[in-house]
Amino acid sequence: MSGKARVILGAIALYLAALALHWVHVSKLSNASAGAGIKLVIFGPSSWDTFASGAAEEVVARVTNDLDARFEIEHPQVKQIVHDARGPIADGLARLRNAEAAGDQLDVVMCAADPVNTAYARGGLIAPLDALVSGIHQRFIPGAVENFTVDGQVWAAPLSAVNITTFFYNKELFAKIGEPAPKTYSDFRALVPQFRAAGVIPVVHQGKNPWMWLLYYMSALVQTTENHQVMFVEHMLEGTTRFTDAKNVRALQLARAWVDDGLLDAQSNELDESTMKSVFYSGKAAAYFGYTWDIAGIASNVSFKWGVFPFPQNESVLGHTEAFGGVDGGLCLSATTKQSDLAKAYIEFATRDENAKRLLQPLRAFATSHMNVIGESDDISRELRSQLPAAKSLDWIFPVELADFMQREMQAMMGQTQTPEQTAANIQAKYEALVQAGYVYRSTQSAFPEATK
């Protein structure tokens, strides 16, 4: 071997030895830290999955540290509680999946209701919590536990503000045309010429986010099925009712009517959330349909008087209007935790009334997951509370593949490139393809209905 080669080989050997030494050092540090006491990891799939989510960063840190300190007093064997919440919401599922696949320590998962229903439970990423929640269900408001019930099992202990669908409107623009907030669809439709004359878009929507289009469909389906929408959807998923059924097609037609009647801007498909909001904030649009988690943003961004009203009642159908949503966050048990009892103890501790109060009050919500943590008392909060209880979101019941397809189809339908009838037929065809590929619907009924009454 030449001298040069020996030098190169020597350098490589030195580099590898340094790497090995570093690894040994890191392992020792890790073992030393673990040996000092038990560590509990509270994992947030996204940066949104924290306590008091949406509050200022220092508030989140304060309430979290306060809760952890009191838990450590009650459980002195716990020496370290690590909170790891990072990344965008869209990457939350991948982050949780990757962390569990990599064998990272995860004990409690802060989880939003949507992914619990559509991915976490059926993907085996979290473990059921029936026994724990059945013992504490009296803490929660009606419908809270149901929002985390998938395939007859409960997957989270509710702990969040209540968020529901509602119309946000610019009171000043309505006052300008001399009209109050509409109660019925016909009332609203009658305002279109006046808004047009005033150079105002009646309703704007973030159509670029396809999942938001389902809100119009779901809100119409509630009315066409006479408030039996969950049962109706279950029948469609079981195959006993077709997606081309008259009630479903009617719901699609009612949704599409918003565009055809000029209420909803047909080019809303080009708008993402921030653009839609800037259109509303700047007073170019009179209203938009969204979720109440937008309240803080509206309050801090608009200079005009604003209000909320429920999805308008359509007089041509018998069902009455309902809001969707409810409690949308909770604490789940990681499927890979090796400290199941301790993780459950943390969940039980955090959801106690006195702790929930500390964690939820900074949110200044109109309602919370807890019976004894009451919401704000302003006019808007009172109006929103009058819309409760909210119905469970239907896109939590549809299999995720079908929900995704429906969103795209709705997007095309609302963009006026296909009819409601075509949309229904396409969704039926997709459903049949899923069934052919092995899809079988599983019931979403509550494990202990007494908890949700």
């Binding site: 071997m1 030449s2 040069k4 080669a5 190169i8 080989l9 490589i12 990457d91 599922l93 991948a94 999946r97 569990e100 696949a101 991915a119 993907g123 085996g124 878009i201 159509g207 670029k208 986010n209 396809p210 801007d265 047909a266 080019q267 498909n269 080009e270 708008l271 993402d272 653009t275 259109v279 170019k284 995720v400 593949e401 995704d404 795209r408 997007q411 095309a412 963009g415 490139t417 393809a433 590929a437």
Partner: protein
């Protein structure tokens, strides 16, 4: 005869890294695609069942068709646009260096910025869309359109943005090629009475042939593999712009079908290889014929 060992020893660390971080994942990924795999646990052997599922999926067919259309527009567009820009900036004009920098600027822009700008630019007049406002201002209200929200135009618009974004890079590639052309060839052509177009057609283009090959290959691979970001920021893969990479993303990260997503990746690899080798052999045979 003995071979010196030093070159192999020098190559070893690099090859080791390529092996660990490139070849091993490729082989492992292929092995995974032959199993039932949910992203966490590796299930039993599935053979080519997953590949069959992907190939027979209507969603995949649609995404593949969109990818081919996107690639066709983008490959031609990037080459024509890049070459045109290269010719333009090779002219002996004042301030041409600054002009080159400006033309290269889109390559350096963050995709989120590009997405925000073009979404705004192509939106409806009442949302501030400049293109529609310009059409209206010159009396072409009839052409006002939901450019990114209609299947008829969304894919074309996404392709145009991709061409605009990378045109500067292809301009540089062509410019480098043009600067390597022997000036005496132009002098000879001029003596023979060739005009500017004839010089471009009979000197520049033939001399640029190897460069066009490289540029086309880069554009082709980019169109198939690197189309995710531009599609996602402009349309979220809606309005008829679902391409194979966004389909793959949905399968893996929306639906948790990791085996299908992995198989889709390998199918895409084979498709790119077929296109690339076909193009390579066609180019080579043309060269030999010449």
């Amino acid at each position: 005869m003995t071979y010196p060992r030093a070159p192999y020893l020098l190559l070893f660390p690099g090859m080791l890294l390529i092996g660990i971080f490139l070849l091993l994942p490729i082989v492992y990924g292929f092995w995974l695609s032959l199993h039932e795999f949910n992203g966490i646990a590796i299930g039993p052997w599935a053979g080519f069942t997953v590949y069959r599922n992907v190939i027979t999926d209507a969603g995949f067919h649609e995404a593949l068709w969109h990818t081919v259309v996107f690639a066709a527009i983008v490959v031609v567009g990037k080459n024509v646009f890049g070459l045109a820009l290269a010719v333009l900036v090779s002219l002996p004009l004042r301030g041409v260096r600054a002009f080159r920098t400006v033309l290269f600027l889109p390559v350096t822009l963050n995709i989120i910025v590009i997405g925000a700008f073009w979404t705004y630019f192509l939106s409806a007049s009442r949302f501030g869309g400049l293109l529609n406002q310009a059409l209206s201002a010159v009396g072409l209200q009839g052409l006002e359109h939901s450019w990114l929200g209609t299947p008829a135009t969304a894919l074309l618009c996404v392709s145009c943005v991709e061409i605009w974004r990378w045109g500067g890079l292809h301009m540089l590639i062509f410019l480098a090629g043009m600067q390597a052309i022997d000036p005496s060839l132009y002098a000879a052509a001029k003596l023979d009475g060739a005009n500017a177009w004839q010089r471009f057609r009979h000197v520049t283009l033939p001399q640029l042939r190897p460069i066009i090959f490289v540029s086309t290959l880069i554009a082709l691979m980019g169109a198939f593999v690197r189309s995710f970001d531009v599609v996602w920021v402009l349309t979220r893969a809606g309005f008829g712009t679902q391409v194979v990479v966004t389909y793959l993303y949905s399968e893996a990260f929306k639906f948790g079908h990791f085996a299908q997503a992995t198989a889709t990746g390998y199918i895409l690899l084979v498709i790119i290889a077929i296109f690339a080798f076909t193009y390579y052999f066609l180019s080579n045979s043309g060269e030999q014929h010449d």
